[in-house]
Amino acid sequence: MLCRVNAWAQVSNNSLAENKTPFTVSSPANVTDTSDYKLRKIHVDEVDFVSSYYNQNGDHSAVTGGIGTEAVTDVANSLTLNLVWLNKAQNKNTLAVGLGFDYHTAASQAFVSKTGASSPTGTRIYPSVDWTVENDKKGNTFGLGAYYSGEFNYQSLGANLHFSQKTTDKNGEFSAKLQGYFDKVTLIYPSEFEPASTTDFNGNGNGYGDGGSHHNYGSSPRTTLSASFSYSQMINSRLQIMLLGDVVTQHGFLSLPFHRVYFNNGKDTIERLPSSRFKLPVGARLNYFLGDNIIIRTYYRYYADNWGIRSNTAGIEVPYKITPFFSISPFYRYYNQSASKYFAPYEEHAPTEEYFTSNYEYAKFESSFYGVGFRLAPPNGVFGWQGLHELEIRYGHYTQTTDLASNVVSISLGFK
């Protein structure tokens, strides 16, 4: 009986159109066209919330010329709403709408003012939107995105276009993404270098972070254009790899106006870097499912740019599935870089140099980042709450050979 009902269900629409009697126990009373049964209205597919607490300590702040405290705390929160619908061609459309909000305290920020009177706190807000349409039959996706980030001293407006195509056997996929960021660097100088025209109406000096409504800072543009490519391939039922590469070019004001540099004659000035930069990172990921419980996730990247920096990054993470829905993931990441040709420590630059920075981001160093993550995704919801389908918590400790050290703890919640 069930087989016969099933057989009727599998008869094509053509047989109905030709008014042939389907092979069935009994014909349905009303035959309706259900060919567009998949057409779904827009609905919320998933909501993701990520929150992190970060703190760091170090002794090479760029604000004070490569010496002085680098103490920072930062709380970052972001919420992403994924809306999904099918269009008339039965292609899946996804609209990801995101909003992020950060709050930080940075001890060195107070020393934008020579006396340490500037505000050490700040906020950043960053909304984003991304639309993707997926053609399952052709195995391709196409999408557009837009992004904004605003903080007291920096505004960024971004747009992107992305495309991917699966191979015929659907075991491989090529992706490409073009991105453009059109930023504005607010020209906030250390108080001793601040032009008189930017002081407030009361004649006071630099008021970094104090709201800025009564200052008339200028700004300078910074443009970043990038093309990102990747190719992923399933090698066998346990192994898959991905090759990645970006081509990035930056133009405009690439230094920061409140970073001091102290020359070897004892005088100070502000950081000066070239107005263009070309970056070329290439990388690979390799993931292997070992046995039934262990996954090995690896990553490697080689990076080069025309400021003289060469870098290697290698990472490994080994999720161990204690149950099919609960895993624990220790991880380790090693990083090294050579110094930029424009970097020198405190009081080591000569005044005759064309470009100079004492920002330790451009110094030679190695870093290690290690920690552990926990992931919980039971089928009946986390803690039995059906709406919360995934919970991830991760802690990491980061150290640099420049003596900078930091801790970060993050939580990610996925709601359906």
Binding site: S78, G122, M242, S329
Partner: protein, 73 residues
């Protein structure tokens, strides 16, 4: 620099070629489709990638952002 990039690219190409790719049926992809096997960053890593890109000179080739935001403190 170009020589090193060529070496890295050749190593990656070699990795691809020595691994005999098998045509996998959908039912053979259960392990590859496991959420821990995703060839990308975890959602929970989002802010880690931000601080790494602010504290280190290298960035990119990790499916993350390549610009935007200052992070200059």
């Amino acid at each position: 620099m170009i020589k090193r990039l060529v070496n890295v690219t050749m190593c990656l190409a070699l990795l691809l070629s020595v691994s005999s790719c098998v045509h996998l049926k959908e039912y053979q992809k259960s392990r590859l489709n496991d959420s821990e096997m995703v060839l990308g960053n975890r959602k929970v890593e989002k802010n880690e990638l931000n601080f790494e890109s602010y504290r280190e000179a290298a960035s990119g080739a990790n499916a993350g952002k390549t610009g935007g935001g200052c992070g200059c403190n």
